[in-house]
Subunit: 101 residues, 2 copies
DNA sequence: TCGATAGTTCGATATTTTTCGAACTTTGGC
DNA sequence: GCCAAAGTTCGAAAAATATCGAACTATCGA
């Protein structure tokens, strides 16, 4: 399985991060990963077909927000907390503490 | 001139803010407004036709990031710093301090 | 009242994203 | 080796955005 490229910490671009987070599903995934640590794609899919879920995880991965590792037959996704924090201090906190209503 | 609706502070949605900021031109406008205080659309346009510039300002306005007031024949745009800060603490700081290489 | 200036709105086209099924890949278990 | 599970990739179609010219609007000044 060819590994999806994930940007080096210093390559993470704010525009890409913002674009990735501008989708409600993806924003939710980020929040749940922050809360739950790691999760398989399946655990976070919300009724969508696999190909859609896969697409959204790819956007998050290419934006530099998550990292994916193989664990047996599943792929575990985790937030790149430290990398994000180092590149854009405060961003994550801001996303996670934002009270939506 | 019908006034563009701008969302009340508590209506500002993180998704919309992120979408607005995912465009390089708009992100730049926000940064420059933060640095310069207020500016006319013209002052910030980068060679684009007026209709494009106007479109981007509208996206920023509707996302709740800027406020526009008439000053004579021009329209002055300003960041809604306090509203943004109150709704999403730290977001603005995070955008402005992000060192893009 | 006429111009000029600064934007806005409209409409059409182009570009980008999203969505989803089908086929494919990888890994683990039997 | 074969099968199932979990994703990925591909391709096509739908939806959302962006771009830009042209026409329109509002305000100021002469």
């Amino acid at each position: 399985m060819r590994h999806a490229r994930l940007p080096a910490p210093e390559e993470i671009a704010l525009e890409d991060v913002f674009h990735a987070l501008s989708d409600p599903f993806r924003l939710d995934v980020v929040r749940r990963l922050a809360a739950e640590g790691e999760a398989s794609c399946q655990a976070l899919e919300g009724d969508r077909p696999k190909s859609s879920v896969s697409h959204h995880f790819r956007v998050l991965r290419e934006a530099g927000l998550i990292r994916t590792r193989n664990e047996g037959v599943t792929r575990m996704n985790a937030l790149r907390r430290d990398d994000i924090e180092r590149r854009f201090p405060g961003l994550l906190a801001c996303i996670l503490t934002a009270k939506e209503d």
